[in-house]
Symmetry: none
Subunit: 206 residues, 4 copies
DNA sequence: AATGAATGAGAGTTCATTCAT
DNA sequence: AATGAATGAACTCTCATTCAT
């Protein structure tokens, strides 16, 4: 899942030894946080899984919180970038929203661990960092809301539902994916994405 | 240490002095879990808030987990009962689903604390208890799904979306209420419920 | 719930309901102390096993220590009485010592639980009670030593070994029975007693 | 390696300031366990006596149990080695058994604390560790039994007593030393050892 | 004679973090 | 860049005992 890989050619591509130390730490922390929750995962477990020592971890990250924050920052950055790309393609509005909705489902499922952590552990971050994360997230939601508002103004979408309520409605569904979707189930990520996009679009028919 | 409860007649029946010891414990635990998360709330804080000693808490509850479990059990029981009531009223299917959907939003908002806890802390329960909670929850979802399947069979609802995907879609939205809805905002619980029900019903139009 | 006592003849001699409350408590405490050690056995466990409540226990016994003390007092009393009986029978000295040695083995095996507790838990008694128990035990050892000294004076036994060392040597073996003897093994209690008596007597040959 | 010790030059190199942290912990734990019993000794007391913090203790030992286990393992190892040495010397069998018996007394007295703990606290070890200790102890007993069986086969010793009963008889006496022998009494360890060996050997005369 | 709610002290253990090297 | 010993505070939970009823 995490790319993590040997930036320098020539680095030993061993089994549990790939990637730089910070990258390895982030990747194992992500897995453990998703599996056991932030508070239930000890720094000791993380460094053991990553095959480094505590000292090394504290060399790269100021605290356990920092690890979590980095995970959030990365997933938010990636999803925002993805949304930006889709939102500006040259296509009718309904198609752009459909693509955005489906994409967010696919990318959420692609990094399901990160998203589980998001749902469960965000409130365990320090107040300050929580604020930063929320702000970033709001920007993301707002970009999505803009699409809806555009459609309501143009008559493509019904206007009798507040756009931000619709956004929260839809993202609730998306964030909930982590608690039911299993790889290897009967639906691919894209199929779920298309279903979700359909449901959203149809509920917005004028 | 803390004398605690209303020994004197006339003690203020205010915020933290009413009810039996176990009830007081549950109520304060609920508030604290919702605010800080299960792991971040210490037993010490709970008993201090409830005005009892640790010993008293362990007299009534076998563990901190038990407290959480009781909270879950109660909210699930209440919501299941509520759904049962609405599901069997004598009305057309679309109206019954609308009522059920709106009601679940209203009751979720009514006990927003319990539901926040549900979303954030369920995975911190012991495996065994988690299983019990999940089983109960599944029953609840299944009752809801039955309504949708009925409508798909009768032609009231579109049949090209798996009913359980629709259920997960909708309950995702519902469980997410805790992270954006604030009492005192511009919408009442019922208004949100009606909007959500509308969105659901419209997305199911054949 | 607990009917308890049936002290009067005619009371149902049920399975876990026989005997007076204090007797039941002592009997269950003995079993539990032997199995898990004094400190590892909680008052709660004892009263549950005996089918009474804590209050009832504290009605009859001043403390958990008291329970242990009563067990000791009983076993010491019984063994001392038994030794007194054998020591004064009308028989040659060698026979009297043989009988006493064999008997102490048999009676130790007969109440193996009590003797295990003796070995493991005596030092957990309060200083005062420990003193009382030790004094009683010393009296017991002294009675035994007197027999040996008699024989050393009369020339029946070798005189080059201090009599109290011999007593400690022998009682060490006896107290150790609890850690190897199992009912249902290949030797009866009496057989072990006779072997032990033989070994003792032969080691004392002049 | 360990910070802890003798920070000031001139600190008394007396009782509690010498050796590495784990060694100091073991040594103080031994004294305390012998004096008060395992369960009655708190981790707090041990670390205070050793002049370290709890954290340091848990850095070296996984649990309080571990401390006890290390004490057992050490004493067993030492005694087994000692017995091995004596059992193979080039001397008649009776002399070898005499030497072994006397030596085991001397070495038991030399580490009387460890042996008291053995007698009183072994059953407080986890089931798994208890098994390991018992297995090691059995090996030790078996080595001793072999000597006796050799003598029974060669006619040096009487054959009408089961060899393992004799072993249990003798080791009972040895394990009991802790409850009566006091340094500074009238007998040296070697004198007690020789007396015990005599008694054993004479009881085995054919 | 007996209950059971409540106490309060202390148990063993975990943990994020620091710091000399 | 990295180690790992050590800290110190906090954690959940247990327990013998008391006392109003």
């Amino acid at each position: 899942m995490t790319r993590a890989n040997a930036r320098k050619p020539g680095a030993a591509p061993g089994a549990d030894d790939q990637g730089s130390v910070p990258r390895r730490l982030l990747s194992h922390a992500t897995k453990l946080f998703a599996k056991k929750g932030f508070d239930r995962t000890s720094v000791q477990e993380i460094v053991e899984a990553a095959g480094v020592t505590k000292g090394a971890m504290y060399h790269y990250f100021g605290s356990k919180d920092d690890l979590l924050y980095e995970i959030y920052a990365r997933v938010l950055r990636e999803q925002t970038e993805q949304l930006e790309k889709v939102a500006v393609i040259d296509a009718p509005l309904r198609e752009r929203l459909t693509a955005a909705a489906s994409d967010v489902v696919v990318s959420t499922i692609a990094s399901l661990d990160d998203n589980k952590i998001f749902a469960q552990s965000m409130h365990q971050l320090s107040a300050e960092k929580q604020k930063a994360v929320r702000a970033e997230r709001r920007k993301y939601h707002e970009r999505f809301r803009t699409l809806i508002e555009e459609g309501q103004a143009s008559g493509d979408f019904r206007a009798d539902k507040p756009a931000d309520l619709v956004v929260d409605f839809f993202f609730g569904s998306v964030h909930h994916l982590g608690s039911w979707y299993h790889r290897g189930g009967s639906l691919t990520a894209r199929q779920v994405g298309d279903h979700y996009a359909d449901l959203l679009l149809d509920s917005l028919r004028p």
